[in-house]
Symmetry: C2
């Protein structure tokens, strides 16, 4: 069943008028028929199964048949601090981190990043937002991960309260595994942050800055992952370890 996030204010009655872009997609791309069932999501955790009705040549409304709480969201809210990198790779990270269950995404730039200024990417935000929303719909998420403004690495490491876990995945860390870090503190952990470096990695100074502000230097294991692989592996493994009995 096709899934669509709509603005929360649309969910006021059992008959929901669909926004023009959703109606266009249903009509022109998906070619759904009158009476077909779709799933509407309010982005605060509820899903509404509804039948579509073509009301005129352009408009569609949806008749809600049942609603339920989406139970696919992870118990722990993971904020992903992702280093800006070349377009395709970054978009891929946005999509995959969303599928894997990230709660928020914060693009960052650091010493060795390809992108050196957050303002340079602001024009990409509508496209990125769309990638994230589509990935959230496709992977049956209950919420769309929040895309924050870009931050400098040195500002990013200062964020996040010290009562959450903040994981600094670093290729020069050889000892401390995810299991060692998470196991003692995972009961009831409600938030975690993960930082992923650029292609050239973080410098020693950057690593020192992160650990001095409470980030925990952690290894993803023996094999060397590309940036985008490290991003997806870190979300998947963190949520796996936290869910594990």
């Amino acid at each position: 069943m096709h899934r669509f996030f709509l603005p929360l204010e649309n969910f006021t009655a059992d008959i929901i008028p669909l926004p023009a872009d959703t109606a266009d997609q249903i009509r022109k791309v998906l070619r759904l028929k009158d009476g077909d069932t779709i799933c509407l999501l309010d982005n605060v955790g509820k899903a509404f199964e509804a039948e579509i009705e073509y009301t005129d040549a352009k408009s569609i409304c949806a008749h809600v048949k049942r609603s339920y709480t989406v139970l696919n969201e992870p118990g722990c809210r993971i904020s992903m601090f992702l280093s800006l990198t070349q377009r395709e790779k970054f978009e891929w990270m946005l999509q995959k981190c969303t599928e894997a269950g990230a709660f928020a995404i914060i693009p960052i730039y650091s010493e060795r990043s390809l992108v050196r200024n957050g303002d340079d990417v602001i024009h990409k935000y509508p496209r990125w937002q769309k990638i994230i929303q589509e990935a959230a719909e496709q992977s049956e998420r209950g919420i769309i991960p929040i895309l924050h403004k870009p931050m400098k690495f040195s500002d990013a490491v200062q964020t996040g309260s010290t009562d959450t876990v903040r994981l600094f995945f670093w290729e020069e860390e050889r000892q401390q595994t995810l299991q060692q870090v998470l196991q003692p503190m995972k009961a009831g952990l409600s938030a975690a942050s993960i930082i992923i470096g650029p292609e050239g990695g973080f410098s020693r100074d950057e690593a020192d800055l992160a650990t001095s502000t409470g980030w925990i230097s952690t290894t993803l294991g023996k094999r060397i992952y590309r940036v985008e692989t490290a991003a997806i592996a870190s979300v998947i493994l963190t949520l796996y370890e936290l869910d594990r009995q």
Copy 2:
């Protein structure tokens, strides 16, 4: 340091003549200089650090300075049965499964696969082989995963001895987690097989065939992954669970 797999027969002495394609890459793409150090790999688990010497306008040889055993290989040999899908996505799976530590890759086709005949993809093998080799070099693997010929799903499920674990990741499986499957049997497990379905998933008949031949129906968790995400998640999580203390 740049890493290159060479044919085993090249490693007969401490001065190793490099094959023409490796020499070309060093000269024209990487532009390494006389005396630069590279790492040569014999694809059976040993690495050789060596200095390059430009012997004439076209040839390069490498002087071995030290050798060591690569310790990055997983203890468990994972065979990935990957459904053939559109080009870009399939190549991406080859690259990522290699980075993540797969031992062998077997392209398969099933009821709902885009590709319906293994012969149609044989011409792509040289390119696929190259993608796998480059990913193995970049991720510091000790071996290049073996790329097998394509197989029909119904033949693929018959492979693999019953004393290994054979995981059938299926979106309709809701109960049995990776942890539940692997934990009781993971001590000393030396081989495992993983099967990943096409975009349309496996049919109920296919699932029945797999489980009746000893494959264990397993879930990757609550969120719905795209095919390529399921492929990488399944290798990463299987190796994580097996390595976990």
